[in-house]
Symmetry: C3
Subunit: 358 residues, 3 copies
Amino acid sequence: MAFTLDELVSRFGGVVIGDGTCRITGLAPLDQAGPLQLSFLANPKYLSQVETTGAAAVLITAAELEKIDSRDGRCFLVTANPYAYFARVAQLFLSLAQPAEPCGVHPTAVIDPSAVIAASASIGAHVVIEAGAVIGERVRLDAQVFIGRQVKLAEDVHLYPRVTVYHGCTIGARVMIHSGAVIGADGFGFAPDFTRDGGEWVKIPQVGTVRIGADVDIGANTTVDRGAMADTVIEEGVKIDNQVQIGHNCRIGAYTVIAGCTGIAGSTTVGRHCIIGGAVGIGGHLTLADRITVAGKSSVTKSLTKAGVYSGTFPAIESADWNRNAALMRNLDKMRARLKKIETQLETELEAALNPPR
Amino acid sequence: MAFTLDELVSRFGGVVIGDGTCRITGLAPLDQAGPLQLSFLANPKYLSQVETTGAAAVLITAAELEKIDSRDGRCFLVTANPYAYFARVAQLFLSLAQPAEPCGVHPTAVIDPSAVIAASASIGAHVVIEAGAVIGERVRLDAQVFIGRQVKLAEDVHLYPRVTVYHGCTIGARVMIHSGAVIGADGFGFAPDFTRDGGEWVKIPQVGTVRIGADVDIGANTTVDRGAMADTVIEEGVKIDNQVQIGHNCRIGAYTVIAGCTGIAGSTTVGRHCIIGGAVGIGGHLTLADRITVAGKSSVTKSLTKAGVYSGTFPAIESADWNRNAALMRNLDKMRARLKKIETQLETELEAALNPPR
Amino acid sequence: MAFTLDELVSRFGGVVIGDGTCRITGLAPLDQAGPLQLSFLANPKYLSQVETTGAAAVLITAAELEKIDSRDGRCFLVTANPYAYFARVAQLFLSLAQPAEPCGVHPTAVIDPSAVIAASASIGAHVVIEAGAVIGERVRLDAQVFIGRQVKLAEDVHLYPRVTVYHGCTIGARVMIHSGAVIGADGFGFAPDFTRDGGEWVKIPQVGTVRIGADVDIGANTTVDRGAMADTVIEEGVKIDNQVQIGHNCRIGAYTVIAGCTGIAGSTTVGRHCIIGGAVGIGGHLTLADRITVAGKSSVTKSLTKAGVYSGTFPAIESADWNRNAALMRNLDKMRARLKKIETQLETELEAALNPPR
């Protein structure tokens, strides 16, 4: 399987500098690429590698290409975004290398007769699909996936093995969800009733669903809870990493990215084009504006109304240093009191010293 | 499906103010409810909405009802705890709206002949039940659940799809566990043996189990490890959110609530009626007293012996502000040294200035 | 099932002090052990219990044995590492108590004809094994496990129910992986392309795999992502707890231990013999040297090049105290400014006071 640079340009755009018939059979980083491989310059700090790479051709911006002294023999594919171009070419090669999933339903799958399944869909071994579910064109459900009643999957959805989608949830086109993710489990809502003897937490039925827009990716073992009365919404183009928890009634704005191990409590709205770092905790009933970045491990306890970068975590340092300073931090009020005392002293006593009674 | 207010009172108590034959077909928030819906006032700040709501009737406390000026045409259902009452009515409507699970065992389930399964239980597709397990009355095991040997499930347990319960664990009545949760995996225990060449971590066999009391709820992808020699115990009425990790030999006291992404290391005891926020980390071998609240994202590294609210996390702020102050924090010892120096200076030099040598 | 002390010594080494024909039927802690049980002294603070225990024999070091005044009637099994010895004996008893898994493939398992499965392997109910997978001798796959195409499992691997291993990953001998873990899901890599209208995150195909060395343990619901172009590597003897996330292209050095809920972002290398506490967050593209310990809940945002103990987290304290000091911390720069002002004042004004103009 090979493509010429001209063929790539006809699919993905860009301009060839050099021989457009140059053949490409794969991709590799600059320092590892061989004479049939395409490489890319995504980070200017690797510019010098462009002059020494063994690659057949290099994806590069026009601005960076200007800086190359010695182009001898090398081909370039000039594009505004070499990294995205690289990703698209890599997808092309991968799609050709992977075995095609056969259409149809594996004999061990258990499908309710009222479910509607497109003929082009591929339903794997031991999959379970409940009543009234609708499975779109070219959907791929890997082994052991569970689809609850009335779930709707748009075209080209791919659920990896052992994904669970609870009843009533809807998933947009081209969504990809990795193994072990759970979409639509009950939100965490209980009414306390401890006034009388015994008492109990009374469960609030969670009768909303989860609605996931097109082109969303969701990582392995991530959980997105269904809404209590309204729906939990993940807008189009959102990318969510592994082990993330999204509480009931949240709304995650389009194209926002959420890194692994982050938790977002219920009824919080995150804006569009946000970047939420790993292991961040965001409290409930908050609103984050568009284009907010939160540094990894931070806690968000108030709404953030202004685009920008937010953080609130200390990097780990040697324990002895940390412990000494952490103990002082817990007594900052005492340091402030000492400071205040000195200031008062300076105002009164120094005054007296400077203006001695005559 | 509809109930009159009088019928609700006969099920759940309370007092009707207005027409007891008023019919209710569902529930909604005050600002969204229509003329066949029941609403509720759980938070006094929405009091004004009670006068404008389109709801057929409103759940309210006697004290709040006193504050309503214009009751014209509206019905009220007076109760000490409107939110819990709402939850119970919502459960009633939900139970009637859901399709009944058929009793019996799906033909694709794999059941060891020595397992005992109540006739009223519902066992879903691709469920696996191993030797000696006992499944109580009206238990519902959704698709792809795994039940290890000698597991005991009391009556009315509901395990959602893809829950794993390891061998020997026992689960109390009415427990609900969401998809992907794992009960009874091995605790994390290894004896280091690196004294000789090579060396290894020697696994400590985990021969305890997990015992879960009645009316416990456990969220999606949560893990509760089995004990090493004794058992891990979750007492009755505990509510655990998604993605929580509970280590071996822990005991979680009755009615305690644990929010998502929290981790509790091994051999820790959490008291009754505690509220543990999201993404909290609690160290091993600690004891938390009854009625302790821990703010989200906090670290608990020492036992907490007194009821109360504990916290230890900074809210994220703009990064530039954070970084400036965080750098100072790591050098608090230097600030303290400067303070000390000033204090000394003031004591000696100022003294000299005030009492100049004659 | 019983062993004499002499029989244990012939299996595991050590020296008997007392009657070598003394029979042992199980293990227990010092304060609970009865006359047929073996106990152990792993922590010197329990030394006094050795004199009062009801155990038939006690595992102990020679140095601790010296401190025992009254040995009357008690047997001792002297070893350099009583805890590791205890673990090995416990494994022996457990292996005999557990029912043997039958060899062979459960009739409900779905196995691609091109997969190669050792005759001594045990393949459970509803397992799925895809094309080209190789399953080694005595491998045990519990119910509902998923094995992707071209996966290779070495001898004596044990995957608990509902483990997923994506295509192409390799797993070393004696590896044990607990329920719900996902090995080899796609790493989190996207190229932003928002220069034009609309725009999108372009997925970087993840074409590396995961390679796991021998004797690794992985906990329930843990996720290890496959590499982007190269592989993610877990070296031999690594022990990983539950709910851990390991990003693409990471390398975890041999014998390192990672506690629950920790997340390690992509392309980070952790050294050998490290101890990473629970709920730690480690940033991407970092290097941690060998023998580094990171305290639970800490954030690692820079490479750590020196062996040692690192931390960076505050223990939770009473909220009122915390909030007062945390507010000051966010204004440390103001405190520093006040300090600076005082220092200047002291330098100039005090100078003036001490040396009044004549």
